[in-house]
């Protein structure tokens, strides 16, 4: 369970990232955060693994207030919370397999990992994770030889290898074309259902949010302005969240229900 209690965040330059946020996310939920760029979606997500630190309030992950965590506690928290980035953040010169194994670093001792002494179980887990996102045939390819969609699937495999309780995805499809975007979202959805991993995704495409989310949280200038199940969401809701009428570029479009695997 993730609990935001009156969480605020003011950046050193005075910009208010979050403003009195009160949100509770139950285990196993698939939540999509929507809002314009600069609305605080990223800050919200990055607070949960403390890539940024809120300046006021209380933020509980699994019952513990994570705002008190120092280095060791922070690393333990981060091993439980996997993250997927807009630009995949793979080591481009390394093989796919090595990139996926990096997901085990938080669970592996420093000396063992520096000398590449991953256990057989870790390697098997990494391979299984690649299989789950259907990219096991690229295991020994260099990461930079893969297309954007393939790289994002590798980064999902990396997160799976981490065996997290929560997955945060910060604009995971913003750099992808429509069919690949749907593919990536489907994998995230599948992982969420199969492993019961709480998943929080930032999106600015409203059609994708509607298609994949259980629940939608709308943000505007650091505040939560909407929070409810998808069934309660209409176009008017988005117009309220965005503070303007819906435009063509708020929609991703593309394969609505197509079987676009591969």
């Amino acid at each position: 369970m993730i609990e935001f209690n009156d969480v605020s965040l003011v950046y050193p330059n005075g910009h208010q990232g979050l403003k009195d946020v009160n949100v509770t996310i139950e285990d196993g939920e698939f939540v999509v955060i929507v809002g314009l760029s600069g609305a605080g979606k990223s800050t919200f997500i990055r607070s949960i693994n403390r890539l940024v630190t809120p300046t006021a309030g209380e933020l509980k992950v699994g019952g513990d207030n994570i705002l008190d965590y120092k280095s060791k506690g922070l690393r333990d928290l981060r091993t439980k919370v996997g993250m997927i980035f807009q630009s995949y953040n793979l080591v481009k010169r390394n093989s796919v397999f090595r990139n996926v194994l990096a997901g085990r670093l938080g669970h592996t001792g420093t000396l063992r990992s520096v000398f590449n002494l991953f256990s057989k179980d870790d390697k098997a887990l990494a391979y299984e994770s690649l299989k789950r996102v259907n990219i096991d045939d690229k295991i020994y390819s260099r990461a930079d030889q893969l297309s954007g969609g393939q790289q994002q699937r590798v980064s999902i495999a990396r997160v799976l290898t981490q065996k997290p309780d929560y997955i945060l995805a910060d604009e995971p499809v913003a750099s992808l074309d429509p069919p690949t975007s749907h593919q990536v979202m489907k994998y995230l959805r599948k992982v969420n259902k199969e492993d019961n991993i709480t998943t929080i995704v930032n999106l600015h495409f409203i059609d994708m949010a509607m298609e994949y989310a259980d629940r939608i949280i709308g943000m505007r200038s650091g505040e939560v302005v909407f929070d409810g199940p998808v069934s309660e969401v209409s176009e008017a809701t988005f117009e309220e969240i965005y503070g303007r009428s819906i435009r063509e570029d708020d929609l991703r479009g593309g394969a609505k229900d197509g079987e676009q695997d591969q």
């Binding site: 693994n49 890539l51 981060r78 091993t79 953040n89 090595r98 990096a102």
Partner: protein
């Protein structure tokens, strides 16, 4: 209103613009005259005379005469000392390549967030780099006595300065996104460096290590002249005995070996990058 740039051309038959505006032209001319002045002033104060240069050429003829016939007796010792030179370069390059790993990370502002440590490391490395290799050799020969040990220490410090500069700049240019991903997955600093930084700098790192090895081969010949071991020391002693035939042999041996090593090293570096 007419364009100002076109205006002078309106009265001419054909308007051709200047290659560069007169202001730029004046600047270039000024710089040229300043350089010419310094050239004249420096040669005046140092007493350099063009006549001396011509006189020197006749002396050169005498030296060349003395260099032949080459003395092949020295070939054996020359190779022995040359191997010592190569050993010195290998030891110094290896140690500096190992030590430079932590040093270059401390001197890279994307890895070392602590302002004081970053600047202190950079400052020390910058100071090291300002000391010429021969001066380092004189210092360490003074400390350790004549022979290869002083030379190795001098070469080590000399190459550490160069490598720290080159590699810390490479580290600063890496893609930080994978490191963010590793931090976000609970990896500690050393793990992030091993998995995020090292693979990204490995090719350049290897290339710079070989480059420094090349430099060390050449530098170790020079520092031998001040008694820091290796073939340079042999060259100096033969020179002081006026044994020019042997000097020629040594020069040829150095030339051949340096060319071979640089060729191999360059080929390897081309293959890596």
């Amino acid at each position: 209103m007419a364009n100002k740039i076109n205006k002078p051309g309106l009265n001419d038959d054909v308007y051709a613009p200047m290659l560069s505006p007169w202001r730029a032209k004046a600047k270039i001319s000024l710089v040229f005259f300043i350089i010419l002045f310094f050239l004249w002033y420096s040669s005046r104060t140092t007493g350099v005379d063009f006549g001396d240069l011509i006189m020197g050429f006749t002396n050169m003829g005498q030296i060349i005469d003395k260099l032949f016939p080459i003395n092949m007796d020295v070939l054996g010792p020359a190779f022995d000392r040359l191997i010592e030179t190569i050993h010195m370069a290998i030891i110094a390059s290896t140690f500096s390549t190992i030590i430079v790993i932590p040093v270059s990370l401390l001197a890279a502002n994307n890895i070392t967030q602590n302002w004081f440590i970053y600047n202190a490391t950079r400052l020390i490395m910058n100071i090291l780099r300002t000391i010429p290799d021969v001066v380092l050799a004189v210092i360490f020969v003074g400390i350790f006595g004549t022979g290869p040990i002083g030379g190795i220490v001098a070469l080590f410090i000399f190459s550490l300065g160069i490598l720290a500069k080159l590699i810390s700049e490479t580290v600063e240019a890496i893609d930080m996104q994978p490191i963010e991903a590793m931090r976000a997955s609970g990896a500690n600093t050393i793990q992030s460096i091993a998995y995020g930084v090292m693979p990204q700098v490995a090719p350049q790192f290897t290339s710079f290590a070989l480059y420094v090895f090349e430099i060390n081969i050449r530098a170790s010949v020079v520092i031998g002249l001040v008694g820091a071991g290796g073939i340079g020391q042999l060259l100096m002693s033969q020179f002081s005995f006026n044994n020019y035939g042997a000097v020629m042999t040594i020069i040829l041996v150095i030339f051949v070996v340096v060319v071979i090593i640089e060729y191999i090293s360059t080929k390897i570096r081309e293959a890596i990058i």
